[in-house]
Amino acid sequence: MDKFWVVAKREYLERVRSRWFVVMTLFVPVFITAIFLIPAWVTARSAAGTASRNIVILDATGTGLGKRVADLLARDSSAARVRNAAPAAQPQVREVTPAALPAAEDSATREVMRPNGVVGYLVLDDSTLSTRRIRYAGRNASSIVDTDRLKASVRQAFTGYMLQREGVKPETIALISNLSLNMSQTRIDERGKGGSGQAAIFLGVGIGVLLLMSIIFHGQNVLRGVLEEKSTRVAEVVISSIKPEMLLAGKVAGAGAVGLTQQVLWIAISAYLMTNFAPLVLKSAGVPISGAGGSAIGASLGGLTVGLFVVIILYFLFGFIFYASLLAAAGSMVNTEQDAQQAAMPVMYLLIGSWLFVNSVIVNPTGTIARVLSWLPFSSPIIMPMRMGLSPVPWTSVAGSLAVCALGCVFAIWLAARIYRVGMLMYGKKPSLAEVARWVRYA
């Protein structure tokens, strides 16, 4: 057992000392933070955009509708304006007669074509009143954000106009047209209310991605380590001092400990960045802290109970042992990096295959697919923690699935050790599947 620790210690220290470890440990949290921040930041930016304001409104309805639209547009964009942005142009309303409309459109087109001029023009005419048709032409005609905002403003202005025609008081109209909704979503489980629905998805998918990435990354490390020992021939000296099974176990344990260390650092650094750094960025972009990504992140971390944390760690360990053992066996069968990737394929298919079902698990975390996958030892390490993040799972199921997973690990270690024992000393051509099967039988 002493020698197991010697191997695990070497594996751990050599990896933690490597430049790659440092780079990956810092890069991933920054990347994750960026993933959360960029959409929020982009939304904030486009909300602050002034394009939808810098337009000409050609109003041929004779009802003052253009004026209403212009007011709404001006108010809407000032609300989301960036603090430091220069005061932008207001929409220009031109009330024209239906007969003069074509000429007005021509001149507006020329204005849009001039550089640094207005961005576009909006046409409101009789057909707007009769068939709710509006026309817009401009540089930003393909911008969904801008056109949506225009449409919303026109719709709101039109509602106001119709209400006024029906004799509703202006104050009431203002009240109605400024009515905004704020829906909060709350998840209910047998423990009561808790967290938001969106946060659960963040949490579930986050856990799944983290586990998948760690298993792939550190599993590949084990494979490469085994291959290195074989190709540098150091393996023979090592195996003359320690049983191959013990060597395999030590290597997997050492690399697994590296994975755990990295995950703890990932979580700690991400949490630090999210709490200390993200608010600064969002604030400078003019996004209220409680909005956009912020709440989802906060809520998803809030959903991370101690129990769930322990289960995640256990599943990582089991999943890692399962896959890393098999990848080590794959590494021991071959002599070159290319052959190693090929030998690792069947193992990777198991892993990636499980990931393909993630969508159906998110859509229906209690469905048959989710249930079956959270019991199979090769998919449960990813699917089960994710399911637990999405919806409550009875603890008996979790315990059962962990037990099955542990059995799977025992089988994987047994199989891997037999292949490893023979494979480590086999040089020359790549073995066929039949040969590997023979190794397993005779080892």
Binding site: K3, E14, E228, R233, V237, V238, I239, S241, G428
Partner: protein, 328 residues
């Protein structure tokens, strides 16, 4: 069970692979304190035997004991040092860390290991005033230096039994000398050294006893002098004056050496011939005939047949099977 006087006791060991038998019913005993040579052509089963000895692979039949204990007994292999034929170390690791790792795998405490590592590095000139190679990565070392680190790794735990598989292959003359000195030093300190080689001269110079194997079977074994006298005959070493040795046919000597009644076989060693007499032939007759033929003789000596001669005689060219070196 107690340690006994045999360092190695292999009895009736057989190892089969799919297509061939690598080792067949092999038995050999190595006394403690001996320098023992395992001789044979490539593919004879030397490496397979050594790997079974070290419990890297398991024999299909037979038993292997080291110091009188079964070789799979826990901790026993901590008393054995091994230098494999194919050598290599972790490329990206520092020399000191590699050595500490391998020493700890042999049951040494990290502190003890560090002290010994420093001694060995200094002894092999890997730490000098200008540079301490112990802190360099294996990658940064020259081939010769890597070989030295590999020796250190083999001997760092002061093993009682040292097993070297083809230790001289790929060594430059300086490291070969260092290795020879190390073996002599180990012997002087009462350690047992077993090495495999297909270079008979090394074995003849260094070994107390040898075992010749071919095609997975033992051909003969025993003390080197016993082996050489076992044939019960003497060979003749013949050297001619001047540069005539290389062209015997030109001065009539060739006719004498070509006479099947006198000479069974001769081997041109460039500086001298090693001549195996035909059965019943007399060395005096040969000398007489040579002088008659006008040979100017510089050396005419009755010698024990060299291991090389015995090897060629007993194993023959057919013993050298190619393409099996992977299973050594």
């Amino acid at each position: 069970m107690h340690d006994n006087d045999l360092a190695i006791d292999i009895r009736g060991v057989t190892k089969k692979y799919e297509e061939h038998v690598a080792v067949r019913d092999l038995s050999l005993q190595v006394p403690r304190g001996a320098v023992y040579g395992l001789l044979g052509p490539n593919g004879a089963g030397k490496t397979t035997t050594i790997r079974m000895l070290l419990d890297i692979i398991a024999p299909d039949a037979g038993s292997i004991a080291i110091f009188g204990r079964p070789n799979h007994e826990a901790g026993l292999l901590n008393r054995v040092g091994y230098l494999p034929e194919e050598r290599g170390l972790y490329r990206k690791m520092q020399v000191r860390r590699v050595l500490r790792f391998l020493a700890e795998l042999k049951g040494l405490k990290a502190g003890d290991a560090d002290k010994r590592i420093d001694e060995w590095l200094e002894r092999f000139g890997l730490t000098t005033k200008e540079r301490d190679w112990g802190n360099s990565k294996i990658d940064e070392l020259s081939r010769g230096m890597q070989q030295k680190v590999q020796f250190i790794a083999t001997l760092i735990h002061d093993p009682e039994l040292v097993i070297l598989d083809e230790p001289f292959s790929g060594l430059d003359p300086i490291n070969a000398q260092a290795l020879k000195d190390t073996v002599v030093d180990l012997k002087r300190r009462g350690k047992t050294v077993v090495f495999s080689t297909h270079v008979m001269e090394n074995a003849e110079r260094m070994c107390d006893a040898v075992c010749i194997i071919a095609r997975g079977e033992k051909v003969l074994d025993g003390q080197v002098t016993d082996v050489r006298t076992s044939s019960g005959r003497r060979n003749v070493a013949l050297a001619l004056v001047g540069n005539t040795a290389a062209r015997p046919s030109e001065n009539g000597v060739g006719h004498v050496l070509g006479d099947p009644k006198l000479v069974r076989h001769f081997d041109d060693n460039n500086r001298y011939f090693e001549i195996e007499l035909a059965p019943g032939a007399d060395a005096q007759d040969l000398l007489h005939r040579l002088i008659e033929a006008g040979a100017r003789i510089e050396r005419f000596e009755l010698i024990l047949p060299s291991l090389h001669q015995i090897f060629i005689e007993r194993v023959g060219a057919s013993g050298v099977e190619t393409g099996m070196s992977g299973h050594g």
